[in-house]
Symmetry: C2
Subunit: 392 residues, 2 copies
């Protein structure tokens, strides 16, 4: 087992109407002038924004609003947010939305609390020494950004998608009302479930040291999301299922499912990042489209974990060779993707990539990783290309 640090200080208020506590929480963490950052019109149309600003008005907390966060959030909007927040003397950031709004708010926070170009942190040039305090009202269960240390930003110039992780960026509070996720299109709900499971699966598939407590809790989480994703496919207004998935989303990416284990594989995410930068696909769907091809390419090199996953998560019978069990687990996972209408290849994802596109993505991915990455199997550019090709 490996040594680890665990630090998940975000105060979570979970349940119905918890958004009504937003002013109390902002005050608790010292906010007096807030930048409310959000995405599209859904938080406006749903009435959530009016509710939030109404509460802030009542309690005398000043604010300024910035919308426009899109999936694969853009660096230009981050710059705009930093300028606006500086002009308005903002001392607290409130992200209202999903991972896009939160990630972009984190980047704005780094930009406010540090001099120089905020992209430096994402490009790996330097590390942030702080972040403006951030709170979240979550409306989409997926990225886990509400409790995680990470954010992912896309630079338009060259369509470069980069993540940055720092404890400074962890939200001070996260308000999670599962009801706020009920108006999501089914496709987005399924994408969210896929992303949530993948955050644990990336940590789970590795060839390094393990911790049984972490593994068994990870498996419990995966089984729970899988079951509840199917419940939500049939009944999107199932509050209990929404709640199970929402809380799993946070626990899947706050560090808990990686404690004591090897850092994980993360190659499905890396391969998807290139897809997301070029084609602007939904992140969860992109992951589903890639995972099966990745898994079939690497499973022989990480057979003990694929076997365990098959039995403990997918319910495959412990019968036959390890390879047969592992493959049955991969097939069961792809079946699950189909059941919740997720793609299992690029075609189903709607990406019409030429072989040149695949070559370009594999090249960009390898360069971004300094040559290669992966723990289930270390992948180099030619491996990445083979997986992209297999996922066509």
């Amino acid at each position: 087992m490996l040594d680890f640090k665990y630090f998940a200080p975000t105060k979570v208020l979970f349940g119905r109407n918890t958004e009504e506590k937003v002013a109390d929480l902002i005050k608790e963490f010292g906010g007096t002038k807030v930048l409310i950052h959000y995405g599209g019109g859904s938080v406006i149309r749903s009435g959530l924004m009016d509710k939030v600003t109404g509460i802030l008005d009542e309690t005398g907390i000043k604010y300024v609003k910035l919308g426009g966060a899109v999936p694969n959030p853009r660096l230009s909007l981050v710059y705009e947010g930093i300028e606006l927040a500086k002009k308005e003397n903002v001392d607290f950031l409130l992200a209202v939305g999903g991972g896009s709004a939160i990630d972009s708010a984190k980047a704005i926070g780094y930009g406010l609390a540090n001099n120089g170009d905020v992209w430096d942190f994402y490009s790996g040039k330097r590390k942030a020494a702080g972040c403006t305090p951030l709170g979240v009202i979550l409306t989409l269960a997926a990225t886990g950004s509400e409790m995680s240390d990470s954010s992912v930003i896309t630079k338009e110039d060259g369509l470069i998608k980069k993540g940055y992780s720092s404890d400074f960026g962890r939200a001070r509070f996260a308000i999670m009302n599962p009801e706020l996720t009920m108006t999501l299109p089914d496709y987005q709900t399924a994408c969210g479930c896929t992303d949530i499971m993948m955050h644990t699966m990336e940590r789970y598939f590795h060839n390094g040291e393990c911790m049984e407590l972490t593994d068994s809790m990870a498996e419990a989480l995966l089984r729970t999301v899988k079951e509840n994703a199917c419940l939500l496919r049939d009944d999107p207004s199932n509050y209990e299922a929404r709640a199970e998935v929402m809380w799993a989303g946070s626990l899947s990416h706050n560090g808990l499912t990686g404690c004591g284990s090897d850092g994980g594989d993360w190659m499905t995410h890396k391969l998807e990042h290139e897809l997301g930068a070029l084609y602007d696909v939904a992140h969860g769907a992109g992951l589903a489209a890639i995972w099966g091809s990745w898994a079939r390419y690497v499973y022989k090199d990480c057979l003990h974990r694929f076997k365990r996953f098959a039995i403990n998560v997918m319910g495959v019978e412990n019968k036959g060779t390890d390879e047969e069990i592992a493959l049955a687990g991969i097939e069961a996972m792809e079946d699950f993707y189909r059941q919740i209408n997720m793609p299992t290849n690029l075609r189903e994802l709607g990406v019409k990539a030429t072989d040149e596109d695949l070559v370009l993505m594999a090249h960009k991915c390898a360069v971004a990783l300094g040559g290669g990455k992966g723990s289930a199997k270390f992948l180099r550019e030619d491996d990445m290309l083979a997986i992209y090709r297999a996922s066509m």
Copy 2:
């Protein structure tokens, strides 16, 4: 499912030699003059105290030491600590030890940060408005106090044992090096495993609303501790097993295993608190001695949870009536206690109580609870007495 708050801000450094980071962490959280609070001589004999003070000396952090924390830590020592810390202008508390040192350090922290008698918080008279920042070097995996909001103190006058819970008392950091627990006597290790499992079991056995993610992760934790307790019985120097148990101890009491569920039952703890106040038994052993009698007394009123526990934690086959399955689960748990040399009744615990003693304990317990408590089954004084009698 119920609404919940989750707040576990403690920064955990887990692994070998993590105690070497103690000065960095104290500085990170603003400490300049530290009260080091510890229990008996084991942290001296092991050389840990010299190591810690050596590191503080090197980095120029001043400190004063206070030993003497005992199991069921005493109010008089808390008063002594408050006086000492005031005299020495202490601004940070470092507990080095297990639950006794941590709980007593929390009480000292409440006393320092609030005017008036610190016992007021434990007796329920008023609530603390703050706590002096606290860090922990854990040497005993059991109470989970290193990440929990709770502490338990015993007032010598009347032998009243009372708990107080507040987020202010949560440790800023917890250093957890499983190697530091290796010199523990086997009995203490087994007591710790029992206490750890009980923190999750108290949350698990209830008749209220549930969350599947919480339940399935709780079951994963219980299975893990059960397996590793047996490994430690056979090989106390098994690092991996020490680590599994140590991390489970923190997760079992930091709130995670209760999210979205009813508040739990907690009557085994309450019944044991009266035992602990009168006989000064080891807390974990006291819990084991009571649990079976409690479980047999209440299981019919909470059959669905006892059945699930039997199957998912104790590995009982899903065969026969629900009552048979539930009872087989209780028997399997008692068998496990015997396997790790824990008592399953008061006699085995070494408590020679007269019936008058049992009557007194049941009365004190009922009075302390304002008449009664319990979610698996609501227990009044006569129920408590019946359980004490059954545990003879």
